[in-house]
Amino acid sequence: MRSLLRFLVRNYFFLLFLVLEIISLTLMVQYNNYQNVKFFNSSTKVVARIYETLNSAYSYFRLHQINSELAAENARLKNRLQQIVHPEVPPPMNSFVYHRFSNDSITGDSITSDTLTVLSSQPVTIDKPRPSDTLIIDSINVRYRFIPAEVINNSVNRQNNYITLNKGRKDGVRPEMGIVGPNGVVGIITNVSDNYSTGPTVLNKRWRVSAKIKNSNYFGSLVWDGLNHRIAQLNEIPFHVELAVGDTIITSGYSSIFPEGIMIGQIEDFDIGNGDNFYEIDIRLSTNFMTLTYVEVVQDKDQSEIKNLNRYNLDD
């Protein structure tokens, strides 16, 4: 017993070193299972508060770029709104038109003129959406909703990059919701505190996205090899698929994290892997993670329902 004590005292420096190393390596390995982290992440209140303060200073210098990105997205959304409210082909007398009748009678617009607009399919330019338009959009039974958020911390230079947003549980953000930027897919939420949330981005070796080639519908999984923050890799595309440089890659919608058809990037280069039956495809990501400022969190109304269903398959 005494000799054991003497051994411990004599080698305390080395033993203490071992203990501290084991503690830190355990922390690291546990973090691999990134859903389980409760404490050490930047959605922790104090850290997130600090990052938010810093970020307000950074974003000031990027205002011009942010403005033009938002303007471009606004324009795109306005076009979308036009398509929904004034479709090219006038719908037959159905509930859609009926809906407008009832709303317009509430807002006091002239019923006849408005109905005519819809039925005669004249291209009408709207400068600001009228109450009836928003009501129609709201009444459409949408599966996905988008929660706007600001990026308060992000990185591209590590092997596993994470993003922190300024929206949290109070704003309806939950773990396993997707993050989408103005140019395409960004990442997924894994940890949420009251006011902040955080999770891995596409530039994270521990996370993969289900993706497909837009014109052939073949799907594979998008991974990142940790080399270049503008290039990711698409795996599991078999040889017989015809590919071309510049083909568009979009989300497949199979994961119930992202809706189908969100932009991921374009094929930069592809090659026949050695020994496998699959291509090695390099994808140029449409999102530039270095300048990302505003994103949206995707809320899927049916996520839990789909997950429940899929659980039965796993039990087999």
Binding site: Y12, F13, F14, L16, F17, L20, E21, I23, S24, L25, T26, L27, M28, V29, Q30, Y31, V37, F40, N41, S42, T44, V47, I50, Y51, L54, S155, V156, N157, R158, Q159, N160, Y162, T198, G226, L227, N228, H229, M290
Partner: protein
Amino acid sequence: MINNLIKYLFMWIVLILLQIVLFNHIQFSGFVNPYMYILFVLLLPFDTPKYLLLFLGFLLGLNVDIFCNTPGMHASATTFMAFLRPTVISLISSRDTLESNSPPRLNQMGPAWFIKYTIILVLIHHLFLFYVEVFTLKGFIFTLFRSVISALFTIILIILSQFLIYKE
């Protein structure tokens, strides 16, 4: 004593802030990332108790980890560096330089000694950190390249900062 404590506490805060505000955003071509915060471990006095050295290294790394979302990664690297610091010091210095009992500063120990000291410990830290980060020997050469390039930046930053502080 109290004076020293305040000085090192101040240094801790400044180095962590510099790391998260400035150096974590140097993303030059995607893989150069200087980690200057380890200057704190380099500058601790020679007579720091060994256990304190380890604990301070561990806590410093953990502090950076919390901001980087990488629990344990920096902590393990800084602990490793703090563990090897006494060995490195006794390897590169003669007996009478150590007995002068001054803290390891550029102006006290001379530029040659300080540069040697910085290069060895920064390389130890960065190699450990980058290999722990990828956690595999796959892409061995690429990781080596990444760690050496980043270490080069860190060494330049540390030595420049010391020359600026001890100009006279």
